[in-house]
């Protein structure tokens, strides 16, 4: 009886009374036209999604567009995604990222400064359980990134935050395309291992 159990969610402060529902259940409700379920998904993921969009686009208006369009796609296609059985948080962030990259390429606005050289706003002291978890997670990913070999980190950052294509990366760094591919692949693998060691196995559905 092929019953895949869905992970339970942690308690969180969210919209309405869907706070105890796992993301998968919210997607199921969303696919049936439940606005409250979509709003809860938004409340859970919009913070990270918007931060990512700002990082790629460097423009609040464009970042809002990217996030809004991504969540509209969630609204329209949640049912189709459910069949894929992937992680909802990965799917949502992928939609936001792809949208942001498409816009940045269209707008020719790409900036590709590595993460470390960017002045990040100082975080307010996290108060809620969610904020603390988010802040722990941010530190863990930043730390894992720092521990990557320089050329792997550079490839991942220029591609993911800068929106550069692999060909543009090869040109910019004056290395063969094959080398870029290997760096991205090895970098992602290494990052996964480092995050696994730190107890963060990819985005948590609960986050």
């Amino acid at each position: 009886m092929d019953l895949k159990l869905l992970p339970s969610s942690q308690t969180r402060t969210g919209s309405g009374n869907y706070s105890g529902f796992p993301d998968e259940a919210l997607l199921a409700l969303t696919s049936r036209g439940d606005e409250l379920a979509l709003a809860e998904l938004y409340d859970r993921h919009a913070r990270v999604a918007y931060g990512l969009a700002i990082r790629v686009l460097r423009d609040p208006t464009l970042a809002e567009d990217a996030v809004q369009e991504a969540f509209l796609t969630v609204w329209r296609t949640a049912g189709a995604f459910l069949a894929d059985r992937g992680k909802p948080s990965t799917w949502i962030l992928t939609l936001v990222h792809r949208r942001a990259v498409d816009i940045v390429r269209r707008e020719e606005r790409r900036r590709a400064a590595p993460l470390d050289s960017v002045e990040e706003p100082e975080a307010a002291t996290p108060t809620t359980e969610d904020e603390i978890e988010l802040s722990n997670r941010r530190r863990a990913v930043q730390e894992a990134l720092r521990r990557l070999p320089d050329e792997q980190r550079e490839a991942l950052e220029l591609a993911y935050y800068g929106g550069l294509s692999q060909s543009e990366l090869a040109e910019r760094l004056s290395v063969p395309l094959g080398t870029i591919k290997s760096r991205m692949f090895a970098g992602l693998r290494r990052l996964r291992d480092l995050l696994g060691d730190a107890g963060f196995d990819g985005p948590l559905t609960e986050l």
Binding site: L5, F21, D34, L72, R138, V141, L191, F200
Partner: protein, 225 residues
């Protein structure tokens, strides 16, 4: 120098392919389960990069705009229910017949327990021609009468030790408990202890024995009644 297309998985996960490369790879993905698997994992890791960013909170208006647009657009196209609809409807009929036979055979002669009353009430709902049938996941169907009385027929496997299945009526963003049961098949049908009003949805979750106030492990949610 022709690179094998599998090599594009990492670049794809990072959205580092240009449009033609992306289309080509997606075409390949559709027919290559290994690559699809690989991309799934790489994407999880790529998405974790989003968590390294320290950024401002999204403006409150963005949330409002999204909700407004969603309302204006209306509900998404309803996803067609997956197969098994027919076999389940048939299972419901079989369950009615089997349980009715059991009753006739004097199962209930021992005592008219409350559970047997419930069972008979559930049977009556399932057998009622005015009942609407709503799929609940792939293994269950809920029959709902116009007045909201509802019963579940399921072929779900026995709940794991120490666990129970719990039914919920979800309405206006609130999930209210509607009874629990341990096993599909022989346990059929199960009477819902709460009416499923129009517009509500039925949920099925797995809970610790004794049930829960709020659903924790949701297994499936029906479409709106």
């Amino acid at each position: 120098m022709q690179e094998p297309i599998h090599d594009l998985a990492a670049a794809y996960a990072l959205d580092a392919l240009d449009d033609p490369e992306r289309s080509e790879f997606e075409e390949h993905l559709a027919g290559c389960p290994q690559c699809a698997d690989e991309v799934g994992q790489l994407r999880d890791t790529a998405a974790s990069l989003a968590f390294a960013v320290e950024g401002p909170a999204p403006p409150e208006e963005l949330r409002e705009r999204l909700i407004q647009q969603v309302r204006a657009e209306g509900p998404p196209n309803v996803v067609p229910l997956r197969r098994r609809r027919w076999p389940l409807a048939a299972a419901a009929v079989v369950a009615v017949a089997a349980s009715a036979a059991a009753i006739v055979l004097g199962l209930w002669a021992s005592s008219l327990s409350r559970s047997l009353d419930d069972k008979r009430a559930a049977l009556a709902i399932v057998a009622d021609p005015s009942a609407r049938r709503v799929a609940l996941g792939q293994d269950s169907v809920v029959s709902v009468l116009p007045d909201g009385k509802a019963a579940l027929v399921s072929r779900i496997a026995h709940a794991p030790p120490g666990k129970t299945y719990e039914l919920w009526v979800i309405d206006g963003g609130q999930a209210k408990p509607a009874g629990s049961f341990l096993v599909g098949k022989r346990g059929n049908p199960v009477l819902l202890s709460r009416r499923a009003v129009k517009g509500s949805q039925i949920g099925l979750s797995l809970e610790r024995a004794g049930g829960a106030e709020h659903p924790t492990v949701i297994l499936s949610v029906s479409r709106a009644i």
